[in-house]
Symmetry: C2
Amino acid sequence: MTSSLRMSSPPRLEAVSGFRAEVRREDADAVEHLVRATGVFSEAEIGIARELVEEYLAEGETESGYTFLFADGAEGLEGYTCFGPIPGTVARYELYWIAVHPDRHRRGLARRLQAASEDVARARFVQRMIAETSTKPNYAPARRFYEAQGYKLLAEIPDWHEDGDGKAVYGKRL
Amino acid sequence: MTSSLRMSSPPRLEAVSGFRAEVRREDADAVEHLVRATGVFSEAEIGIARELVEEYLAEGETESGYTFLFADGAEGLEGYTCFGPIPGTVARYELYWIAVHPDRHRRGLARRLQAASEDVARARFVQRMIAETSTKPNYAPARRFYEAQGYKLLAEIPDWHEDGDGKAVYGKRL
């Protein structure tokens, strides 16, 4: 017996449903630009979105705990998701980010990115995907989007982000 | 005018209410040992507790986002807390860890560590401290402890950590 059949590391994700899984140096700028262009997120949130890309680039997928799917278009990044295991849980992933450029809305891109992210998680035996968002009125489209994709509201915590800005926690069995 | 009155960085926390705030290399082992000795936490959780100390040692307080308070005793570490800002929130801290060696229980050490952590947060204008724990029966002492310290149950999410192991979210206005 040789050990040639043993894999030294899991196969690297390159592309899923036509989305790019490889993370490139320029994605930090592209993600910051895209997330800002949505007009929904605060500067602190935009900073966090960028930081996750930078953590991935510095530490890799396993150490950072993030997986990305990117939708590339003729004029640059059109949308992306970032998801990964929730520390301290078993077979639970969180969809940390999903964003689509405002010019690319209403073409089903967010829905396809979401579905592809769930496919990746399902293939890793993840049982439940969590998505958290704000209870504020301007996040109503995000809440409707999750509900339309089969997510159930698990909890609402008033004043979570700051006074007057609660957290809505959604979950979906995969 | 000289610039001698301008501080180049915030004053470093050295000790609070008799607890040590300085983090030392050997604290990674000491925290792992202490958290395991409690008999409450899973191996995954023990790994996370250690990791937070290592992140602090590698990145410092601001970058890691963690502040520690250690209770040193004649025979080593008797208890500690780890807390810091919740990303994406304003003036919200989470008490990530509080653990006391089983031999040191019932002497009010956990209560004093908790109070000192809240004092540090209050001095930083934090408005709300969050503490999350499990809904499982063996975490009942932790839930009673938070309630006795003035924490209110904000949400319970069934099956959060895994099926049958929910999350209880507590919060306290500072």
